[in-house]
């Protein structure tokens, strides 16, 4: 009999009950909650007179709507304010732990889960947010759910699910200098397409993935959904265990050894079978820049914007033409000639300490170029911000002309006051370049933190392998 994949192991350990057609009731260990996708779920509980099944499995934080400027006077936008207050009230009513807007631990839900050790290897982790796949970096089965499912988890601690197919994306070899986790995942999405992972759970493996830090692994897993997969994960190794150790929600002393020995099993067996396997050579990956309105529309920084005329598929060709019009770009333009108006370093993809260090290393001693109207850094959490300040990174950013903000989702989706104006172009470390994502009419280029920083100080995209 063939061995088990990591996915099999995670899945099997959480099946409460299975129907003949394969539909399972799956137990959920950790439920993360934020203000946007939860109000209707709490309302549903209240209407049905139900209580949360297991209060201590939930952890809540407001992130999408919070201002990234001074918060001492609350939230100016009344509708955003009500949504955040509704979360506060619901957490108080139902007894759920919440890091409120002014808590030093507040931050983007996908940053604080791992940071607190609330995300652990072997867990099932869900949240009403598609980037929940981030937590898969810990060898956890983590996926985004809708509001009906948020209510379902609150009420029953379970979800009704069918197992997906398994896809192994193996990135082997050594990543070149200046090539980061973000470039790896953009290259993967470019390779398999935004629907390439639909119906699959992706395991990321291979020596290049193993060489990444936990922050880098989170960046890769974060964007699984941009390849169509609800879940993406990576097997457990020493880095995983070292990262978790000592965090507030990590297993207590008396359980630690037992937990670690279970976690050591959390990788695919050597003889496991996958439904599909994709191999990518690490050496082939360059720093990536997206030029269009879908994360698959990306090219190496050394390339030019592709010509829709050479795309044989008519639906794809139309999509490319529409994207170029929206983005205000012409086929054949070298990527390095594109000049952003704004630079955004943040989001659950790239707002962790390692991301801020990488960006700071590029800009140290330099100034933001004249043509950049705004360059901002939004740390992923209060604790990341604090650590960066301890390391003096805030000074580097501020001296260069960046704004140093309070943690939250910010211009990743522009639900708060941070947004692009129509026609503005942004070098962004976030995960989605959809039309209007960062503000109506805004134009997003997805890049790594180092590439965003280099664009800020040069005024256009540059190949960071050619800088110092």
């Amino acid at each position: 009999m063939a061995g088990k994949t990591l996915y099999d192991k995670l899945w099997d350990a959480h099946v409460v009950r299975q129907e003949d057609d394969g539909t399972c009731l799956l137990y959920i260990d950790r439920h993360l909650v934020h203000e946007v996708t939860s109000p209707q779920a709490f309302e549903g509980l209240r209407l049905a007179n139900r209580a949360p099944w297991r209060v201590d499995a939930n952890l809540a934080v407001p992130d999408h709507n919070v201002p990234t400027t001074d918060r001492s006077h609350g939230i100016a936008d009344p509708i955003s304010r009500i949504q955040v207050q509704t979360l506060d009230q619901n957490c108080t009513t139902f007894g759920i732990t919440e890091f409120n807007m002014n808590d030093p631990r507040q931050g983007i839900v996908h940053v604080i889960g791992p940071e607190q050790g609330a995300t652990l290897p072997g867990m099932t982790v869900v949240c009403g947010d598609s980037h929940t796949s981030t937590h898969g970096a810990f060898g956890a089965l983590a996926f985004g759910i809708g509001t009906s499912e948020v209510e379902h988890v609150l009420a029953t601690q379970c979800l009704i699910q069918k197992k997906a197919k398994s896809l192994l994306v193996s990135v082997d070899g050594e990543l070149g200098r200046g090539v980061t986790a973000k470039d790896v995942v953009l290259a993967i999405i470019h390779h398999i397409g935004t629907a390439g992972g639909t119906g699959y759970a992706i395991e990321f493996g291979g020596s290049a993935i193993q060489s990444l830090s936990m922050e880098g692994r989170m960046t890769v897993c974060n964007m699984s959904i941009e390849a169509g997969a609800r879940a993406g994960f990576i097997g457990v190794d020493d880095k995983t265990i070292d990262y978790v150790k000592g965090r507030p929600y990590a297993p207590r002393e008396e359980y630690w050894e037992q937990a670690v020995s279970t976690w050591r099993e959390l990788h695919s067996d050597a003889d496991a079978n996958f439904d599909r396997v994709v191999h990518i050579k690490a050496e082939d990956i360059s720093p990536f820049v997206t030029w269009g309105t879908s994360p698959e529309m990306g090219v190496p920084v050394t390339a030019a914007i592709p010509d829709p005329g050479s795309e044989p598929d008519p639906v794809k060709r139309d999509g490319m033409v529409r994207a170029l019009t929206y983005m205000g770009l012409k086929a054949g333009t070298p990527i390095t000639e594109i000049k952003p108006d704004k630079v955004f370093i943040g989001s659950c993809t790239n707002s962790r300490i390692e991301d801020l260090r990488a960006a700071a290393a590029i800009i140290e001693g330099k100034k933001v170029a004249e043509n950049i109207k705004l360059a901002m850094v939004v740390p992923g959490s209060g604790l990341v911000k604090h650590q960066a300040e301890q390391e003096g990174l805030d000074k580097i950013f501020i001296d260069a002309g960046f704004e140093w903000r309070e943690p939250g989702c910010s211009m990743c989706l522009a639900m708060n006051a941070d947004r692009l104006e129509p026609g503005e172009r942004c070098a962004s470390t976030s995960n989605r370049n959809f039309e209007g994502r960062q503000g109506q009419g805004g134009r997003t280029h997805l890049v790594s933190p180092a590439m965003a920083a280099a664009a800020a100080v040069n005024g256009h995209f540059v190949d960071i392998r050619e800088t110092k």
Binding site: A118, G146, Y249
Partner: protein, 217 residues
Amino acid sequence: MDSFKKMQGLVAPLDRSNVDTDQIIPKQFLKSIKRTGFGPNLFDEWRYLDHGEPGMDNSGRPLNPDFILNEERYRGASILLARDNFGCGSSREHAPWALLDYGFRVIIAPSFADIFFNNCFKNGILPIILDAATVDKLFADVAENPGYTLDVDLEKQTIVTPDGEAIAFEVDQFRKHCLVNGLDDIGLTLEHVEEIRAYESRRQNEAPWLFQSAENQ
């Protein structure tokens, strides 16, 4: 949830792939804490020429004449014909809420994004996957025939065209059962309370750390 058995409806075509949930319902409308009222802001950025914000009176806003759903012949459509990877992007259930509130009960596409697909069933919308060639043909037929309607029968799993041609479709049997009977998942799951408790006590033995709360709270 409303049950879904069969319906006849006018078909509106949205001929682009990778329609994402940010397009279906832009972020500013996600600030609502309600489940209803999203219909007027469905596809807001494509549908109107000005910038929409929650609380606006949408009836007076300038419509984009180039957006297909604004064409008179598609007014009152309840079946949306779409392309690959419809509903990609975020998990926001506001997307199916907006489609439903606008009047769509069926969406036909060659493929859907997973979370969106799942969210549809939870809200009484039937997403139907048909092969690309059939979808192409439907696009052509809709374009040529104003007033083009389809009969969708979930129990029989067929779509019947105005010429009487029957197109079969697949649907997960559990989801079909829930949709046909308008069943609430939570109620179904709570029939298995004992099994959930048994799982928890077994798990508590195997992995007690999963049931502790934070160390220093």
